[in-house]
C-alpha cells in the first residue's frame, strides 16, 4: 500500500506523492484520508438537508391541528425516515468525516491505517441511503414504525418495504464498523513517535472511545434488524408471543444498542469542544486527564442504563431503581466535562469568532438537554413524560444543539485548514445567531407541550396545543432556512477568501496547525517531532 509508505522517492507511484489526481474517478477510487473526509462531510450535509426537508413536512403538518397536508401513514414515514437519516446519515458520517480529516493530522500520521477499507466504508453509504429513500416510493410506503422500529410495529404491522429498511441498516452498520475499525487501528498503530497516550488531543481520545462503542453495539443493531427480518418474512418468533417470543425483548436488545448509540453521537462532540474552547480562551484545557477518564467512564456506564427508555414497560421495581440510579450517575462525568470547559474559559482572554460562538452555545444548550435527561431519568416522572414532546425536546437539545452545533463549530474551526481560506466571519455570525435563536424557538416550547401531555409521533393534536405548535413550526422553518447560510459560507470559502496561513487562530494548539493551509494532499509523510 504505497499510500502508507514514507518513501518520498518512489517514482513508480508518482501520482500518490503529488497533488490530487483530476476528474470524477479521483473521488471514486480515492484512498486519501482528506478526500474521504471531504466525501463524508458533503454526504452528511446532503443528508442533513434531506432529513431537514422531512422535518419541514412534519412541522408544516403540525402547524395546525387536524390533518391538512399529508396522510397519517406518510407522516409516520416522515418521522421515521427523518430520524434514521439524521442519526445514521447526518451526525454519524459527519463525525467519521471529521475523524478522517483530522485524526491523521493530529497524531502525525501520513494517512489512515487501512486506506482501501476507508474507501469502501464511505462508498457503500450512498447505496444504503438510496435504498432507504427509494423504499418511500414503494407500494405500501417506506418504514413507518419510528426510528426505533419497535416490534410488533416493524414485524406484524410493517409495510413490505421493511426488507429494504433492514438491508439499508445492515449496510450502514457495516460502514460504521469499518470506519470505527480504521480509527482504532490508526490511533493505536500510526501515532508519530513520542505521541504518547496522554498527549493525544481530546478529539482523538473521544473518537477512540467512540470507535470501541461502535464496534460493540453496531453488530447488536445488525442482529436485532436481522431478527425483525426473519420474524417478518421467515416465520421465526423472536418477538412474537404466539410463537414463544416476547415483544418487550425487542426493546431490551434495541436499547442495548440504542443508548450507547446516543453517546456515539456526543463523545466526538466533547472532543471538538475541548479543542475549540482553549483556543479562543487562550488558555490550555483545564483538567485534560479528568476529561479522558470522564469520557471513558461515560462510555462504560452507557452499557448499564438502556432500560431508562423502558420504564413504562412494567419492569420490577428494583430494576426501575437500578436503571434510574445508573442513569443519574452518568450526569457526574458529564458534569466534570462541563465544569472543565467553564474552568478553561474562566479568566481567559476570550474572543468570540464563529467556532467559539457555537462552542459556547453547545455548552449551555447541551447542558439544558442533560438536565431534561435527568428529569426523564426519575422513574415516576418518566411515567408522565414518556412518549410526549418532552422527550422530543430532550433529545433535540442534546442532538441538535449538542451534536450538530459541535459539528458546525468544527466545520468553522477547521475550514481554514481544509480550504486555505478564511470563511466570511460576517456570514458565519449571521448563521450562528439565526440558528441559535430559531433552534430555541423550535425546541424550547416542546418541553411545555410535553409536560401538558402532547404525545410524540402523532400527525394531529388537541386544539389546546395549537398556539405553541405554531410557534414551534415557525422556529423550525427559520432554523431550516438558516442552514442555507451555512451552505453559502462553505461554498464561498472554498472559492476564495483571505488566505488563512498555517495557524489562523494563533493560539490553536496541535499538529494540524503546524502544516500549511490548505493542508497538502499528503502530510506528515515523515513523522513530525513531538515536543
Amino acid at each position: 500500500m504505497s499510500t502508507t509508505t514514507h518513501d518520498t522517492l518512489d517514482n513508480a507511484h508518482d501520482e500518490h506523492h503529488h497533488g490530487a489526481p483530476k476528474g470524477l474517478m479521483r473521488w471514486v477510487l480515492t484512498t486519501n484520508h482528506k478526500d474521504i473526509g471531504t466525501l463524508y462531510l458533503w454526504f452528511s450535509f446532503i443528508m442533513f438537508l434531506t432529513g431537514g426537508a422531512m422535518a419541514m413536512v412534519i412541522r408544516a403538518e403540525l402547524f395546525q391541528p387536524g390533518l391538512q397536508l399529508v396522510e397519517p401513514n406518510f407522516f409516520n414515514q416522515m418521522t421515521t425516515v427523518h430520524g434514521l437519516i439524521m442519526v445514521f446519515g447526518a451526525v454519524m458520517p459527519a463525525f467519521t468525516g471529521l475523524a478522517n480529516w483530522l485524526i491523521p493530522m493530529m497524531i502525525g500520521a501520513p494517512d489512515m491505517a487501512l486506506p482501501r477499507m476507508n474507501n469502501w466504508s464511505f462508498w457503500i453509504l450512498p447505496f444504503a441511503f438510496t435504498i432507504l429513500l427509494a423504499s418511500l416510493f414503494m407500494e405500501g410506503g417506506g418504514p413507518n414504525f419510528g426510528w426505533t422500529f419497535y416490534a410488533p410495529l416493524s414485524t406484524t404491522y410493517s409495510p413490505d418495504s421493511t426488507a429494504l429498511f433492514v438491508f439499508s441498516i445492515h449496510i450502514m452498520g457495516i460502514s460504521s464498523i469499518m470506519g470505527a475499525i480504521n480509527v482504532v487501528v490508526t490511533i493505536v498503530n500510526m501515532r508519530a513517535p513520542g505521541m504518547t497516550w496522554m498527549k493525544l488531543p481530546l478529539f482523538v481520545w473521544t473518537w477512540l472511545i467512540t470507535a470501541f462503542l461502535l464496534i460493540a453495539v453496531m453488530p447488536v443493531l445488525a442482529g436485532v434488524v436481522t431478527m425483525v427480518l426473519t420474524d417478518k418474512f421467515f416465520g421465526t418468533s423472536f418477538f412474537d408471543a404466539a410463537g414463544g417470543g416476547d415483544p418487550v425483548m425487542f426493546q431490551h436488545i434495541f436499547w442495548f444498542f440504542g443508548h450507547p448509540e446516543v453517546y456515539i453521537m456526543i463523545l466526538p462532540s466533547f472532543g471538538i469542544i475541548s479543542a475549540i474552547v482553549p483556543t479562543f480562551s487562550r488558555k490550555p484545557l483545564f483538567g485534560y486527564s479528568s476529561m479522558v477518564y470522564a469520557t471513558a467512564s461515560i462510555a462504560i456506564l452507557s452499557f448499564l442504563v438502556w432500560a431508562h427508555h423502558m420504564f413504562t414497560t412494567g419492569m420490577p421495581v428494583f430494576a426501575e431503581l437500578f436503571f434510574m440510579y445508573c442513569t443519574m450517575l452518568i450526569a457526574v462525568p458529564t458534569g466534570v466535562k462541563v465544569f472543565n470547559w467553564v474552568a478553561t474559559m474562566w479568566r481567559g482572554s476570550m474572543t468570540f469568532e464563529t467556532p467559539m460562538l457555537f462552542a459556547v452555545a453547545f455548552i449551555i444548550l447541551f447542558t439544558i438537554g442533560g438536565f431534561s435527561g435527568l428529569m426523564l431519568a426519575i422513574t415516576p416522572a418518566d411515567f408522565q413524560y414518556h412518549d410526549t414532546y418532552f422527550v422530543v425536546a430532550h433529545f433535540h437539545y442534546v442532538l441538535v444543539t449538542g451534536a450538530i452545533f459541535s459539528i458546525m463549530a468544527a466545520a468553522y474551526y477547521w475550514l481554514p485548514k481544509w480550504t486555505g481560506n478564511m470563511y466570511s466571519e460576517t456570514l458565519g455570525k449571521w448563521h450562528f445567531w439565526c440558528s441559535v435563536i430559531s433552534v430555541n424557538v423550535l425546541f424550547f416550547p416542546m418541553h411545555f407541550l410535553g409536560l401538558a401531555g402532547m404525545p410524540r409521533r402523532i400527525p394531529d393534536y388537541a386544539i389546546q396545543f395549537a398556539d405553541v405548535n405554531q410557534i414551534v413550526s415557525i422556529g423550525g422553518f427559520a432554523f431550516g432556512l438558516s442552514q442555507l447560510i451555512f451552505l453559502a459560507v462553505v461554498l464561498k470559502c472554498i472559492k476564495g477568501g483571505k488566505p488563512a496561513g498555517d495557524n489562523p487562530w494563533q493560539a490553536a494548539d496541535g499538529l494540524e496547525w503546524s502544516i500549511p493551509s490548505p493542508a497538502p494532499y499528503h502530510s506528515f509523510t515523515t513523522p513530525p517531532e513531538i515536543k
Binding site: 475499525i181 443493531l221 421465526t236
Partner: protein, 187 residues
C-alpha cells in the same frame, strides 16, 4: 510487509472478530433474556408445563383475587372469553376456571393461547396443574369449545400482592403450526 502493516493486520483481525462476536452476542441476548426472566420471575411469564398438586397447605386466613382477561390477536375471527371474570381464592386452594372459545369463520383454524400474569412478580406463584395453553387449540369452522384451567396460588405469594390478573392472548398459528409454534407451546 512492514512491521506497521503486520501489526495493523493483527489489530484488524482482532477487531473484526470482536464485531462478529458482538453480532453473536446480540443473538445470545435472546436466551439470556429468557433465562433471566425465568430465574427472577420478572416478566409475567408463567411456567409452561403442568405443576403437581400434592400436600399443598391451604391458607384459609388469606384471600387473593384472581382476574381473568382475554384477548384475541387482531384480525383473528374467534371469540374468546372467561366464564367468570373474577374469583376469590385462598392461597393453596385448587381452583377450576373455564373459558369459552368460538370460531366465527368458515375455516378450520388452530389457535394458541399465551398466558401472562400481572403484576409480573406474581407470575412465579401462579401454578397451573392443567391449562389449555399447554396445547394448541384446533377449532373447525363455526365450532366452539370450553377450555379448562386448573390452578392454585402458592402460599408464599408476597403479602403486597392481593390481586393477580391472568391474561390470555389467543393467536392464529394455522400458518405457523409447523415447527415454531410447537416450540413456543413447549416452552
Amino acid at each position: 510487509m512492514s512491521p506497521t502493516q503486520k501489526s495493523n493486520r493483527k489489530l484488524l483481525t482482532m477487531l473484526i472478530l470482536g464485531s462478529i462476536g458482538m453480532f453473536g452476542f446480540g443473538f445470545a441476548l435472546v436466551p439470556l433474556y429468557d433465562v433471566l426472566c425465568d430465574t427472577l420471575g420478572i416478566n409475567g411469564k408463567t411456567q409452561n408445563s403442568a405443576s403437581t398438586y400434592d400436600s399443598v397447605v391451604v391458607d384459609k386466613k388469606r384471600t387473593v383475587t384472581i382476574e381473568f382477561v382475554t384477548q384475541v390477536q387482531s384480525g383473528m375471527p374467534w371469540e374468546f372469553s372467561p366464564k367468570v371474570n373474577q374469583i376469590t381464592v385462598h392461597p393453596g386452594e385448587l381452583t377450576h376456571a373455564k373459558f369459552e372459545v368460538k370460531n366465527l369463520s368458515a375455516k378450520n383454524i388452530i389457535g394458541q393461547a399465551i398466558p401472562s400474569v400481572s403484576p409480573g412478580q406474581g407470575a412465579a406463584y401462579f401454578n397451573k396443574t392443567e391449562c389449555f395453553c399447554f396445547n394448541q387449540q384446533p377449532l373447525a369452522a363455526d365450532a366452539s369449545a370450553e377450555l379448562p384451567l386448573i390452578f392454585y396460588v402458592d402460599a408464599d405469594l408476597p403479602a403486597s400482592i392481593n390481586t393477580l390478573t391472568l391474561s390470555y392472548t389467543l393467536y392464529d398459528i394455522t400458518d405457523k403450526q409447523a415447527v415454531s409454534a410447537k416450540q413456543g407451546a413447549a416452552r
